[in-house]
């Protein structure tokens, strides 16, 4: 028994030693993020500029796998274990309140005061990173749901759901091989985004008294509209197993009239060799009233590890300020087609000239809404997805699915 115990102890010591092999000096900042799509050289040049301007700070740039789930897994295990091997890191927009509530994110309100951020940034982006008036992350770049349409198949962008369905059906009558409206209905986070957009478009709100509210009349009509879209053939059944790429490919092959997706689709669909090049337009999502709809806010934020020692924390804040500066945002827009979170960047001549699509996105980006900003969102989202999936697949009436989802959410929220 004793030698066995000793062996385990040795093993544990060995693993501890491994974790501490790389000694770090007080001013080395480790920045961990997902890769920016494309050639890394411009981004590395950006970091080198920071190094030149801040000779007292050493920056180590670490890239994570390009999968949101894996990044989250890594953050949960590292930060929950009190790890200090990262100082500055990029987090998904829905994680900020949760990670802040867990005590993993440094309060950045001193370096990035909330009112100053509100002046410079789009409103949704700031809502998503503030919790109880404190700032826990700085928006880096964002993402927003929007509607793509075929300019050769419909007269103009639809403003209401009725128009969307009318335009689509007219085009489908002329060409029966077409699908009407493509969206993402697979059971995953993207389904939540699509349903929330429909709920907002039907006049609903997802937050009531600081909690998540799903069992509302507007939510029922919003979810029912998506279910009806499938039941009446406006959307093909394939949306039930579709995420972003499946729908983007079908649309790009010229087999659909409308597509709800993220801004990345624009560059792909306008690429040389794309069958629909020059024949697409984009617009805000439709609503019942005809006012421009709200797209779901996505994107990445820079957060600082609450456990980093003060010197490194200050250095990390400086790096975050540099990476979110107007100049850096212009660079990210031009080189990587990243959607700016700062309002002024949309009017920057360099962006208007070099990335007109991004400059034109301003009204849609400004209307973007975050998913419910509560620490419980991640906890609840998984159960919500199952119910929403049951509703759009026609397994349960939308009203039943929503009241079941609400029961789960209430149980979680009471449990605090």
């Amino acid at each position: 028994m004793m030698p066995g115990m000793r062996a385990i102890g040795l093993l544990a010591l060995a693993s501890l030693a491994c974790a501490r092999t790389a000694p770090r000096d007080a001013s080395e900042v480790v920045f961990r993020h997902q890769p920016l799509w494309g050639d890394p050289a411009p981004f590395h040049a950006m970091l080198d500029r920071f190094r030149r301007e801040n000779p007292d700070v050493r920056v180590r740039d670490e890239t994570m796998p390009n999968a949101s789930d894996m990044a989250r897994e890594m953050f949960l295990t590292t930060l929950d274990g009190g790890g200090t091997e990262l100082d500055l890191f990029a987090i998904d927009v829905v994680w900020a309140p949760e990670f802040a509530r867990a005590g993993w994110l440094a309060d950045l309100s001193a370096a990035f005061p909330a009112d100053r951020l509100r002046d410079a940034y789009l409103p949704g982006a700031i809502d998503a990173v503030t919790l109880g008036g404190r700032v826990y992350a700085v928006p880096w770049y964002l993402d927003v749901g929007l509607l793509y349409y075929r300019t050769d198949l419909v007269p103009r962008a639809p403003r209401t759901y009725d128009e969307l369905s009318q335009f689509a059906r007219a085009a489908m009558q002329r060409d029966p091989g077409l699908s009407g409206f493509l969206w993402q209905g697979r059971q995953y986070e993207g389904l939540d985004c699509n349903v929330f957009e429909s709920i907002w478009g039907h006049g609903g709100d997802l937050v009531r008294g600081g909690g998540i509210a799903l069992d509302t009349p507007a939510a029922r009509t919003g979810l029912a509209w998506l279910r009806e879209a499938i039941a009446t053939g406006l959307s093909p059944r394939s949306v039930l197993s579709s995420a972003e790429e499946e729908t983007r490919r079908a649309f790009q092959d010229g087999r659909a009239v409308f597509l709800r997706n993220w801004p990345y689709v624009w560059a792909e669909a306008q690429n040389e060799g794309s069958p629909i090049r020059g024949r697409i337009g984009f617009a805000p999502l439709p609503t019942v009233t005809g006012e421009p709809g709200h797209g779901t806010l996505g994107g990445w934020q820079l957060a600082v590890n609450a456990r980093s020692p003060p010197m490194r924390r200050r250095a990390a804040e400086r790096l975050a300020a540099f990476l979110t500066s107007p100049d850096a945002a212009v660079e990210l827009a031009l080189r990587y087609s990243r959607i700016p979170a700062r309002r002024a960047v949309y009017d920057d001549p360099r962006v208007r000239e070099g990335a007109p699509f991004i400059a034109a996105l301003l009204p849609i980006a400004a209307a973007a809404r975050p998913r419910p900003v509560t620490p419980y969102y991640a906890l609840a989202s998984d159960s919500i997805q199952g119910e929403l999936s049951a509703a759009v697949a026609g397994l349960r009436p939308p009203a039943d699915a929503l009241s079941r989802a609400q029961a789960i959410v209430d149980h979680l929220q009471e449990n605090r």
């Binding site: 005590g103 697979r186 995953y188 394939s238 197993s241 490919r249 049951a390």
Partner: protein
């Protein structure tokens, strides 16, 4: 005495490694399953068996258990039947044929699942073209069978290889004796091949049942457990609870429950195998 000492020392490294990578984590998970540990609440509190009491009343757990059993029984039955057929063919085939059959097994599961997802794709997937009325991944009625198909495609070669090894250990003289006695082909198969193949069959059954019961990657890539949780197995539910929801306590409870089920399956097969010998 000295030899036994030596033996103990020789075995010590492997015991230590096993303890480090298997036994300690298992007990750590059991320990964690007795806690309420949800990352956002930032607390870790001992709650005894409360998580297990919740488990018993958790409809999603029972439905995931049902899905897992459904998946395991159908997939393993199909794999054994097909694997046996393939093994009987391969017995007469050459090396090239054997190499070709093993190919699906050599492809990483995530890659083959991604490939199948495109085949199933309801817009332009090949399988969709063949049977346009079936919405493989989008319908709760068929999604699990799509996952079973992928698993069967991938692991039948593995079963076939084990059974092939079993077949080649049956002495040719037994068949010659049957031939002399004038036994028919079915009679030879059921009277000689199957009974003598039983140990190999049981080994294949043990490996495959344990693997299928813990299925994760194929389903995760194909459907992430959807639609409407209809393909959610225990491993997927545990993963989502642990990593997406950040509920380490209840997630560990689910993992422990999965482990307990796999342990029961494994032990019963091992006892069955032992009796056969």
């Amino acid at each position: 005495m000295i030899e036994r000492r030596h033996a103990a020392w020789m075995a010590a490294p492997s015991v230590a490694i096993l303890a480090g990578v298997a036994i300690v984590p298992v007990f750590a998970a059991i320990w964690l399953s007795l806690h309420r540990s949800i990352v956002i609440f930032h607390d870790q509190r001992f709650v005894g068996l409360a998580n297990f009491r919740f488990l018993l009343s958790d409809g999603r757990f029972w439905s995931a258990l049902g899905t897992t059993i459904h998946f395991t029984v159908v997939a393993v039955a199909a794999e054994i039947a097909l694997g046996l057929a393939v093994a009987l063919v391969l017995r007469r085939g050459g090396g090239l044929l054997r190499a070709a059959v093993i190919l699906p097994w050599a492809i990483p599961t995530a890659v083959s699942a991604r490939m199948w997802a495109w085949l199933f794709n309801a817009d332009y997937g090949l399988l969709h073209r063949l049977a346009p009325a079936v919405d493989w991944l989008g319908s709760p009625a068929t999604a699990l069978y799509a996952a079973i198909l992928v698993d069967v495609w991938k692991t039948t070669p593995f079963v076939a290889l084990i059974l092939l090894a079993g077949l080649s250990s049956i002495p040719e003289s037994v068949y010659e004796a049957a031939l002399v006695d004038g036994a028919s082909a079915p009679r030879t198969f059921f009277g000689i091949t199957l009974p003598l193949l039983k140990p190999a069959l049981l080994v294949a059954l043990l490996f495959r049942s344990l693997d299928a019961f813990r299925v994760f990657d194929a389903i995760y890539v194909l459907t992430e457990g959807g639609p409407a949780n209809s393909t959610e197995t225990l491993s997927i539910y545990a993963y989502k609870t642990l990593m997406r929801s950040g509920d380490f306590g209840y997630g560990s409870t689910l993992s422990v429950a999965t482990f307990a089920c796999a342990l029961v399956i494994g032990l019963s097969f091992v006892r069955w195998l032992g009796r056969e010998r």
